[in-house]
Amino acid sequence: MKIDSEKLIQDLVERTRININQVERFNTLSEELLNRKPGPDKWSILECIAHLNLYGDFYIPEITKRIAKSKTESTKTFKAGILDNYFAQTMLPKEKLNKMKTFNDKNPMGSFLDKTTLQRFLNQQEQLLDLLNMAGKIDLNKTKTAINSQLSTNQ
């Protein structure tokens, strides 16, 4: 899939804005509600966000490092590789919501969570916006990150 690099980055910035706004709305809810689980094996809102924070903890320094090291220049189009498409697609929610398993180190269940979880997420999003900004100046085709060795898989 070929895509205009600048459009891709603009789309990701806009998605980041929407995610920030959603978490700002969560911030107005009580901690009790944010910790409520819809079922015994289900995650609360804060657990979901904590899960994303664990990925951010890996990817934000990783992307920062790769961009800093990159000596490439921006290109007009981005073409995702076969593996990129495969991993991205397995993570997308399906029409009938697909259950996913996560690995133990990305499972936030049982940890005590408060609103600092949301603040951590918001701080990560600010860093992500900076990275997206810098991503406009490098070749997205040639700059690759490591992937977190423990990816979620479909159940």
């Binding site: 804005r17 920030i20 700002e24 107005t28 600010e126 900004n133 406009g136």
Partner: protein
């Protein structure tokens, strides 16, 4: 009638707004890196426009009821800009895309005149703002802004005004008392 409110009434009457938007407190209208060429009219509520430097938020401008706001750099250049625009409280906006707004401006000489007047005002305000920033005494900066925009102190929480005035909230409250 104030020419600008008359101007707004014209846009209302001709149904030229592209859409309406509502933001809850602390939600973002724009974040760093986006291209935003819209012009927004504040129906109610208030917003702040700022840049983030390291961990410091430096407020550039506020918008409240009956103001036009835009990410001015992006509006003019049509390129990405570093500005953040965030609602301070629940805010309702009417949105004009640049193209529809400019078509409205070009549709009559009267509109063109009002737009020129608005741009003139804007340059004047930017000049005043530049002088604020060049004023080294915190007390003088405070006095200038208070004289120019008394409404600001009714609409906007102290911590944001302090940032706009480039001082700590403690300094601002001390100056307000004296």
């Amino acid at each position: 009638m104030n020419p600008i409110l008359n101007f707004i009434a014209q846009i209302d009457k001709q149904h030229l707004w592209d859409k309406k938007l509502e933001l809850n407190r602390k939600e973002y209208l724009k974040v760093k890196g986006s291209i935003d060429t819209n012009l927004y009219f504040v129906v109610s509520g208030s917003l702040r426009i700022y840049v983030l430097e390291e961990f410091d938020e430096n407020i550039i401008r506020f918008g409240y009821k009956d103001n036009f706001i835009a990410a001015l750099d992006s509006f003019i250049s049509e390129k990405p800009s570093d500005l953040y625009i965030q609602a301070i409280k629940k805010t309702q906006l009417k949105v004009n895309k640049k193209a529809s707004f400019m078509a409205f401006i070009d549709s009559s000489t009267e509109n063109t005149k009002i737009w020129q007047m608005m741009l003139g005002d804007l340059i004047y305000q930017q000049m005043e703002r530049e002088r604020d920033i060049l004023t080294s005494s915190p007390l003088e900066r405070y006095k200038r802004v208070l004289a120019r925009s008394p409404q600001l102190f009714q609409e906007i929480p102290n911590k944001y005004i302090a940032s706009y005035l480039r001082m700590t909230p403690e300094t601002l409250s001390r100056l307000k008392k004296s």
